[in-house]
């Protein structure tokens, strides 16, 4: 996974890159000084924009914005999000191509996709619930 992130950070003007799950949990990061809660906030913000577009039935998989003298590009693929922070728009074309290739490789990386799938459903929350609802009990009774 780190190898793919390195492909991105090796480009000129890249501050760093991170991968978050569809629940904005940080999976991996490279070259960033920001802490996980800050990155999660950024991931959540990006995911909200994506969700807003989805609600309008406009499927988007890329968001580019400018924040505090930094350029940010967020790419959504399946159940994960790759956010890259960079300082110069000069690298944009090359970065977009690199991101396309990186995302394609990540989607084919079985180990990585297993990690992502584990994040997709938070088992802990379900186990911590304690009591089952009537709907869940009904579902269980149908199981053989």
């Amino acid at each position: 996974m780190k190898r793919w992130l390195q492909e991105i950070t090796n480009l000129e003007g890249i501050e760093g890159v991170f991968i978050s799950s569809g629940r904005a949990k940080i999976i991996a990061k490279l070259g960033l000084d920001l802490n996980d809660p800050q990155l999660e906030a950024l991931a959540l913000y990006t995911l909200r924009i994506v969700a807003a577009f989805h609600l309008k039935t406009q499927k988007i998989n890329e968001i580019e914005f400018y924040w505090k003298n930094l350029f940010i590009i967020g790419r959504v693929a399946g159940d994960f999000l790759v956010i890259t922070i960079f300082t110069t728009p000069k690298v944009l074309a090359l970065l977009r191509i690199t991101l396309n290739v990186t995302l394609s490789n990540l989607l084919e990386d079985k180990k990585f996709m297993r990690v992502i799938k584990e994040q997709a459903a938070d088992k802990n929350i379900l186990l911590e619930k304690g009591e089952m609802t009537e709907i869940e009990k009904n579902l269980i009774t149908k199981l053989k």
Partner: protein
Amino acid sequence: MKEKIVPNEFAVFALSTDKSPSEVTLRSSEWAVITQIDGHKSVMDIANALALTKEEAIQLFTGLFEKELIEIRSDVLLGANLAPLSVFENMEMELTRVIGPVAPFIVDEALIEMGLTKDKFVQDRLPELVELVSEEITDAHKKVQFQQIMLKYLKELNIT
């Protein structure tokens, strides 16, 4: 208006002999650049003198050139890294594998859109060309395959 050109930081301009700056309305930043142009200083020299970024300076010079107030003294591409013609041959070959014999025309059209030619193509702009050409590939999987191959070529040219 003159043809669209995008000078690089090494270009040297002189004031136009046909048109005077007093004939047009200029912003203060454009006037500042005009006062510095002497036919010897490069775009970067003037950018440094006026505390402009390279991008700001290039934008101002492009605007002044389009207003026909300045002329190119040295070759715009002087000092720039030109893309070798083999890159375009490779690009056309790889694209032909993906979309067929129409590939060379797609590359030519993309070059026209960028206002550039193969023999005077600054290699820093190759990623833009790859991206533009990729837009013509409808199959998402083939598009990534093409970009992956082109990315290797770009790395070989030390474009990062």
